[in-house]
């Protein structure tokens, strides 16, 4: 009887872990859930693009140039006669993939540098943080454009590397300050005193406790990376011209005539970018709020 009660209590206690509290808070946040649903829908559609359209995104069709939305073409066609709806789906694939890969890379760099600087402190910290400060001094967009123009021929991977290498600084600082605060706890001292290696202390004890911060940073970064990719492609320094991406689709709108007369070419990708960023921001806010023990929601 007593044992059963204990198990019951234990189960209840398990339910109250910070993760489950946060998850329940997040599920109750309608705006965040709506945004998550939208984002999942966009991602699913992007990766199932061939099933949702009959057109080839690369096919040039001179006869059907600049067709307005309607018969045959759901959202019209662009200056090369490519179907906008098809480009939107395939473009989502490119833009979201670049955003996700960059975010993963940036989080990895930021976590490694931030946790090493925070854990060791002293000289290591000083050197790494001066380096971070130094990287922060550069105007981000200007350097991305200059670097991207140098590696323009190298394709998408070069773009991903350029974006990642230039944007880890903010996240690294946040991870460092969190690790520094966390390392003062007794359990870390206990782990060190039983002979755990620094790598093990960081991986098994510190990182799980700064995970929430890292997740929030990752959502913020995902939005920033998608904007950076689309803006670069729009200016002609991003994804190679033949590859459909949301930014590339809007390049034609650099011509005022297209802005005025062929609005169906640039408005769909423009709205797609904006709503995607909006939903990512709402999800990020929701996660931040869910992990905040002081918020009552």
């Amino acid at each position: 009887m007593e044992a059963a009660e204990e198990i019951q209590l234990e189960k209840k206690a398990k339910k109250q872990s910070p993760w489950s509290i946060a998850r329940r808070k997040l599920v109750r946040n309608k705006l965040a859930m709506l945004s998550l649903g939208f984002l999942v829908l966009v991602i699913t559609m992007a990766y199932m693009a061939p099933l949702l359209t009959g057109y080839d995104p690369q096919r040039v069709d001179i006869i059907n140039r600049n067709q307005p939305p309607g018969e045959g073409f759901l959202l019209g066609t662009d200056a090369s006669g490519r179907d906008i709806w098809t480009l939107l789906l395939y473009g989502a694939r490119t833009s979201l993939t670049i955003g996700l890969v960059c975010t993963a890379a940036v989080i990895m760099i930021a976590t490694v540098i931030g946790s090493i600087a925070g854990y060791y402190g002293g000289l290591v910290d000083a050197i790494l943080m001066r380096f971070t400060d130094f990287m922060m001094n550069f105007p981000f967009l200007v350097f991305v454009i200059v670097l991207a123009s140098i590696f323009r021929e190298a394709g998408i991977w070069a773009l991903i590397i350029v974006l990642s290498v230039l944007s880890w600084t903010g996240a690294a600082r946040v991870v460092r300050s969190k690790v520094m605060a966390e390392k003062e706890n007794e359990y870390v001292m206990a782990a060190i005193s039983i002979g755990s290696t620094p790598f093990k202390v960081i991986r098994k004890h510190l990182l799980p406790n700064v995970m929430t911060t890292i997740i929030v940073q990752a959502t913020l970064l995902l939005a920033v990376m998608i904007v950076a990719e689309t803006a670069l492609s729009f200016l002609g320094f991003g994804v190679p011209t033949g590859t459909p991406s949301w930014g590339n689709m809007m390049t034609e709108a650099r011509d005022p005539n297209v802005i005025r007369s062929y609005w169906w070419i640039w408005i769909p990708p423009g709205l797609a970018i904006t709503f995607t960023i909006l939903s990512i921001n709402f999800i990020g806010e929701g996660i931040k709020d869910a992990f905040n023990p002081r918020s009552a929601r």
Partner: protein, 320 residues
Amino acid sequence: MLLYTLRRILIMIPILFLVSIVVFSLAFAMPGDALSGQIDPTQSPEYIEEMREELGLNDPVHIQYGRWVAGIVQWDFGRSVVHRMDVSAIIGERLPNTILLSAMSLIITYILAFFMGRYAGRNPYTKGDYTIQGINYLMLAIPSFVAALFAIFIFSFQFGLFPSTGSVGSGMTPGTFEFWMSKLYHTFLPALVLGALVTASYTQFLRNDIIESAQKDYVRTARAKGTPESEIYNKHILRNSIIPIVTLFGFDIASIIGGAVIIETIFSYRGIGELLISSIERRDSAVVLSVTLMLSVATLVGNLLADLLYGIIDPRIRVE
């Protein structure tokens, strides 16, 4: 404060040196040089090789870097091969436009943020506040180039209120009253886009600060004395809440630089950002080098300014 300022400025010198090395190596790594960009088929390869030799493009890297730095110290930024002008002259021609655009966008930001932040802070958790928050979320989410395209589409083409391109009307004599009015007229729309997008963080900052200040003891004292509510908000709270916003100014310089590059390109606004993009496209390395260095230094100065302003407002920062 003086010691703190001096220390901050001295730290900048080695950073400036490192920045110059990074910028130079970037420009050095750019594919081709100004000569390969515009090879005239009538000219023999020997002639081009001769030109390269003459311009010093075949010298070792460190000698080229030394020559470049020596030039900058004497305010000589080299010569643009595309424009056939001194780089300092081109920048001198473009810089006032960018400064006008930035100043106007900052004024727009301050005005919008002041009124929206004040309203939302005074009436938190009301319909008006939620509307302002919604606008803020939208402005944070919409990328600047998308916002610019929508602004051109709506204000220039649907309503015909503002010109969609250029920085000044054609056929104007510089210096006249009409010239300046035309300039302001052309600058308004890009400045509005640039300014509106930065407004969100200012508004949020002011709103939260007003809500927080409204709970403080000195406000309760003022209420207890019978001070009218409007006076409490306009005099007691607002004066305290405006101060921390000043510190955001330094960081703004960095965000405006990035925004200006995109906005100027879309509006074909003849400023520094548009110059950078068109020079990269034409491989005009002397211009790219100078503009990149200039914008990096401006960002550096912006960060320094932010630190110094913090130091003025919060004396604890000064102690290190």
